[in-house]
Amino acid sequence: MTTVLLLTATGLGVAALYFLVASGLTLIFGLMDVLNFAHGAFVGLGGYVGWTVADRLPGSPGLVLGLLAGVAAGAATAAVTELAVIRPLYGRPLDQVLATVGLGLAIPALLQAVWGADARTWTLPGWLAGTVGLFGARIPSVRFLLIGLAMALLLGLRLLLGRTRAGLVVRAGVEDREMVTALGIDVRRANLAVFALGGAAAGLGGALFGLYQGSVSPGDGTSLLVYAFVVVVLGGAGSITGTALAAVAVGLVQQYADYASASLGDESVVILLAAVLLLRRRNLRGRPA
């Protein structure tokens, strides 16, 4: 019983992590049709910047500022990327892919150059370091923070996209840039906004991944990228809710499979992916994959 509870709780923690990383990706991929291979790099950067701040001033304030710094770093980098790399390449998706792959390689290398290859330990404030007893299961406090913030992000993004015109503009822009501008809309601004938003989510995800692991290392973000893509596709690119559902599915499946057997744990996610895509030929939201 306690084991089940423990697995579920921590599984949701993993899900939260995946969602944090995937949400930004699904925005950029789903809305702008840009396969952003630099996303992992954004995550990694968010982690390091967050860690640097939190390391300077320990305790809860440091933690909060660290998270904010991570978000800021992610947003800033993404914005710069959009302006300098993505924007000049609209209408040339392949070149965009190549460029983002380039950034995806260069940025982590840069992180290693600046902070070294060894993992940097992120010491958590006391109240986060411990565990919370729940029917005999010791659930690490960090997981609750992750789940909480992930939910907040989910709601925030839904509101933002539901209420604002930006999402609409961007989606239209992907289909027919010329026509959007011909309606008097400056699609570039909307694109920049979405990209920065995705970057911010990535930054937050990075910082939280740092907390989660209790350390940051140059490869962090990129190691999660594959999962992020899986979650995005399962959830239906561009659909925030779908992404959240997919993240939960992947997180729980992986956690239980890991407990069942190592080899199964390794294969579980890919099996899930292939099964869903092939059997239903639809992603979890019922949209054509």
């Binding site: 084991t3 992590l17 993992a119 010791r138 690490p140 350390s215 490869g219 890991d258 190592a262 080899s263």
Partner: protein
């Protein structure tokens, strides 16, 4: 552009050793995740050279020249580098951290009959691989055997190995089964998928197993999280936990768990008890602005072995091999012996514990373990007939 036979590259052969200058090719990681280890190794290597040549780089009348190639942790690059070096007529190659690469380079060395002294790569199968391949570091077996010496009588004791579901992991499990199982312990394992993001499921399994000893063989990146989880879920207080002590940068990774773990150490600064070699190594390394660390001795030892081989002959590889086989010498960690049968490098290892707290840990020597008690078994049949010679 002139014309030549497609094997013309060989024309350069032995050119390297003329003018009594000898090139030693070094292939190791200077970039990528293993870069720190590579740097440690190189630092030790250079320290060794300047110590053995009193700073002149001249050993036994030969000016020694280190040709260092970055393998960037890619077998392809490493093999290309090896062929390149051999093509330049280099007869001695050393280095590399990554066992995968060491095995590939060893194969190339054997094909081309050049001496290869592997670096920190720990894979057991380097022993007895071929007669051209030696090693300057320890191997997994010795690590495990060291752990075995920590607990008294093992008969009936329950030992659990926590490792990743990989070659390294399974090899360690097998090793523990062989070594500690041999001493009467019942060994089981908890394997972690490489893709695992969360370790709670495995701590649950460990606790369920109620082991007397938990042997953690971890090569994964997210060590911090692993230790945190073990600590949070109360594994560390429930059982005796043993693991290998990695390089200084990783000490904080153990987090608050640090003091609850018993470490087996290949080496840590001061483990040698400040013997002449360690002192010399530490001196040169620190003078050149570096710090001594886990794999610095591997470099130093490698240079000792190169020098010894060189004294035997600058070019005749068989002579070098003959000289090295069975050679016993004093070094940074203590007494080393190159076992003739399979070129295993018998050496001492250490038991250590971390004192201090939070982020600043200092390793302290508990005891040094005698090379012979942890020596890997001698192969029943000689690992190689005079094949290839």
């Amino acid at each position: 552009a002139g014309c030549a036979s497609p094997t013309g590259g060989g024309a350069a052969s032995n050119a390297a050793s003329t003018g009594s200058s000898v090139k030693i090719g070094i292939i190791t990681a200077e970039s990528g995740p293993y870069a720190p280890y590579g740097e440690e190794y190189l630092a030790g290597l250079k320290a060794g050279l300047s110590y053995l040549s009193n700073g002149t780089d001249v050993i036994d009348g030969h000016k020694v020249q280190l040709v260092i190639d970055d393998d960037a942790d890619s077998p392809a690059t490493a093999v290309a580098d090896a062929k390149d070096l051999i093509g330049q007529g280099v007869d001695m190659i050393g280095g590399t951290v990554d066992s995968a690469i060491a095995l590939q380079v060893a194969a190339v060395a054997a094909q081309n009959k050049v001496l290869y002294i592997a670096g920190p790569a720990a894979v057991d199968s380097l022993d007895g691989l071929n007669r051209y391949t030696f090693r300057s570091g320890r191997e997994s077996y010795q690590d495990i055997a060291t752990a075995g010496t920590f607990v008294g009588d093992l008969t009936g004791k329950k030992v659990v190995v926590l490792a990743q579901d990989s070659e390294f992991g399974t090899a360690n499990v097998a090793g523990v089964k062989a070594v500690l199982g041999g001493q009467g312990a019942s060994v089981s394992s908890v394997l972690v998928p490489l893709s695992a993001t969360d370790f709670t499921p495995f701590t649950a399994k460990i606790l369920a197993a109620k082991p007397d000893l938990l042997f953690v063989a971890w090569a994964g990146t997210n060590a911090t999280q692993m230790w945190t989880t073990l600590n949070q879920q109360g594994v560390l207080s429930a059982t005796k936990v043993v693991t290998g002590l990695a390089n200084t940068a990783t000490y904080p990774a153990t987090g608050p768990a640090g003091s609850k773990i018993e470490f087996l150490a290949h080496y840590f600064p001061g483990a040698g008890g400040g013997n002449a070699y360690e002192a010399a190594m530490t001196k040169t390394v620190t003078e050149s602005g570096g710090t001594v660390d886990l794999f610095t001795p591997d470099g130093f030892t490698a240079m000792q072995m190169f020098a010894h081989a060189l004294e035997a002959s600058p070019t005749d590889v068989s002579a070098m091999i003959k000289a090295l086989e069975g050679w016993s010498f004093a070094g940074v960690e203590g007494q080393y012996t190159v076992r003739a049968a399979d070129h295993a490098l018998l050496q001492p290892e250490f038991e250590a514990k971390l004192t201090g707290s939070g982020t600043s840990w200092i390793p302290q020597l508990v005891k040094a373990v005698d090379p012979n008690t942890i020596a890997p078994p001698v192969p029943a049949t000689p690992a190689w007939s005079t094949s290839g010679s």
